[in-house]
Amino acid sequence: MSSPETWTHPEPGAVPAATAAQPTPEQVIAGLRATTEGGIELTQLLTPEGERVASPIFDGFVSDIGAEQLRGLYRDMVLVRRADREGNALQRQGQLGIWVPLLGQEAAQIGSGRALRPTDMAFPSYREHGVAWARGVDLKDIFGIFRCTDQGSWDFQGSRLHPYTIVIGNQVVNAVGYAMGQKFDGKVGNASHEDTAADSDEATITYFGDGATSQGDVHEGFVWSSVYDAPVVFFCQNNQWAISEPTERQSRLPLYQRARGYGFPGVRVDGNDVLACLAVTRWALHTCRNGNGPVLIEAFTYRMDAHTTSDDPTRYRLSEELEVWRLKDPIERVRAHLTRTEGADQEFFDAVDAEADEFAVELRDYCVNMPDPPPERIFSNVYAEPSPALDAQRDSYLSYLAGFESTAGEG
């Protein structure tokens, strides 16, 4: 009784159903317990060793990705990882209040992020620095969040990357609302033929974690999008952990199968395979743009660092786990592939590394020189329209502050 199909034809006398406490081996492999195995339904185009695997279903979605494009994806991942490591370092040196590392999730974020068209919209969670990069957001604008000088300062509408959201899962319904708007605006289903999508067609993607799938809002997003055929891709990065809790605390089944209950496609992709993430996300966006409604993608990946710089993962997970996942590193497999199959030489890799070094310096310089916001900021933009009551609070506080200054001046 371990396959969902049979659960709609229950056999009361048959063997007991698998339970969360006693999962079947099949369930364990499918991702119930933290594991490196994605199971047989995992879509992979590049093996950890860098070999290209054919996929009749998804190859068509990356037919334009040649050696040059692959180098681009490699560079994206290296730069983003370097920025991420710099974030960690800056936090350790007291330049940031906290850092939320993406280490290990570069492929999931770059692959999906690069699948977007400029007109598509993205609603991130808080770890999506790679997506931000792919959207063309200057990563400097991310650092203010973690330095606690601001709450995100890029051009949200221009870049079509919504602000980060920290309350787990609650951006998901916002993304669905946005996608409904795309549909109401006539930006969906304009293609003359199923194989194409019109240039004017749009879609939305939203990012969340394995832990987030337990939240009511994610469910409500699933319901709304399927009922309104909203063009939204739910991109769940299953990095195996929600802080200290493994995925088994959230589900009996592999998470991509959650979509089955709502009547829209759910697929699992190797989240450490940038090519597969690109292909599968492109396919999903295509489906959305054509008016078929939502798609759930589970990117099976791993959080290789702590949850945040405040976290100490040695308290809850074994280092062996990390070792096994290191062998599946998202960057290494592209490097291997480029070297073996696409003739990339050391010079190329050195050049990318050098660029990354420069990038890190640039970020650091920016970050350490970031000015504190003025106290007025506390009171600004609470409302779009003026509020005399709040203005009075501001004025009174500022004149109180000025009092100190003048006293200081006198003293």
Binding site: Y178, D217, V382, Y383, E385
Partner: protein
């Protein structure tokens, strides 16, 4: 919008008409939808049925299913989707079917709706209106008679307003929709069927302002100020009339804007009368009535001849409706409070 327009469509902008509050809201919504095709309504049963109070009656028929959405039964989804639509450039108006059902959508209101403009440093506006029929007095079962407005008054970034008559219903609804800020719009459901003459041509003053709606006789020695809003305005106006017969002269102020508060008219009045009775059917603890009392004692310290007196719902859950006549402030309780404050 379909070619065949209902008779209602012609009713907006036609000079003075006698309207109920519900109809005022309905015509206000209609006018806003006609003026701006980005105005879109979301809620449970608001389309085909026209809402359980018929406030959206006829709107889906005239504006179509993509502008008046019968949504899944999911309040977090309603607010959350409205936010996304607002980010996309729409001006969504959500209906929460009854006051007690807003709480599943609370997180979206607090963490997203109220904060997006602030956290984005003004780059994103979320002009969402959340309509909440609120308050008791309709003989209903649980969760259908609550007054949760104080909770929203405590949250920065939200505008909280309440109308008390058909004219305000008609105009404030349009002003709320036109506002670039999120607005919690509290509708006094037990007054939905009260009528008034509404001039649908002359837009009145601003949305976020209190209003002195009755000025007491300044020559009387027994004077006080009554402050209220929404469903209790009727009670206060009746009390003022009754008090006048007994030689007590009351200023009556309709707060209209519950947050941010605009208390100047209140201060002005209290400085004249020296006495304030604040009336609301919401519970008293850590509430809007506490806020009014706190602000008035601060601003009018030397004018007050008696402490600010509050007549409120009790600090209990809303009781079984057979008891609501005891729970809700009424004419007698208001007059009794006035007497007490005068006797101070």
């Amino acid at each position: 919008m379909t070619a065949t327009m209902s008779r209602d469509a012609e009713q907006a902008g036609q000079g003075t008409q006698t309207l109920t509050i519900a109809k005022g809201l309905n015509l206000g919504l209609r006018a806003a939808m006609e003026a701006d095709n980005k105005v879109i309504l979301l809620g449970e049963d608001i389309g085909r049925l026209g809402g359980v109070f018929r406030v959206t009656d006829g709107l889906q028929k005239d504006f179509g299913e993509e502008r008046v959405l019968d949504t899944p039964l999911s309040e977090s989804g309603i607010i959350g989707a409205a936010i996304g639509l607002a980010v996309r450039g729409y001006r969504p108006v959500c209906e929460i079917q009854f006051d007690g059902f807003i709480f599943p959508g609370f997180d979206q209101i607090i963490s997203q709706l109220a904060k997006l403009h602030y956290r984005s440093e003004g780059r994103i506006s979320v002009p969402v209106v959340v309509r909440v029929p609120y308050g008791g007095g309709i003989g209903a079962v649980e969760h259908h008679s609550e007054s949760p407005e104080s909770l929203f008054c405590h949250i920065a970034g939200l505008k909280v307003v309440s109308c008390s008559n058909a004219t305000d219903a008609y105009w404030m609804m349009q002003q709320a929709i036109a506002s670039d800020d999120p607005v919690m719009f509290f509708e006094p459901k037990r007054r939905y069927w009260e009528k008034a003459d509404v001039d649908t041509t002359a837009e009145p003053g601003p949305l976020m302002a209190s209003r002195l709606v009755r000025r007491g006789d300044q020559n009387t020695t027994k004077r006080a100020t009554l402050v209220s809003y929404g469903p209790q305005m009727r009670t206060c106006l009746d009390a003022a009339t009754a008090a006048a017969e007994d030689g007590v002269s009351l200023d009556v102020i309709d707060l209209r804007s519950l947050s941010p508060l605009s208390l100047e008219p209140v201060f002005e009045s209290v400085r004249r009368t020296g006495r304030l009775v604040m009336v609301t059917e919401a519970p008293s603890e850590s509430s809007i009535s506490s806020e009014v009392a706190a602000r008035v004692q601060q601003e009018c310290f030397y004018s007050l001849e008696a402490p600010v007196h509050r007549v409120t719902g009790f600090d209990t859950p809303y009781p079984p409706a057979k008891l609501e006549e005891h729970y809700l402030p009424d004419l007698d309780r208001v007059l009794y409070a006035v007497d007490q404050t005068l006797a101070y």
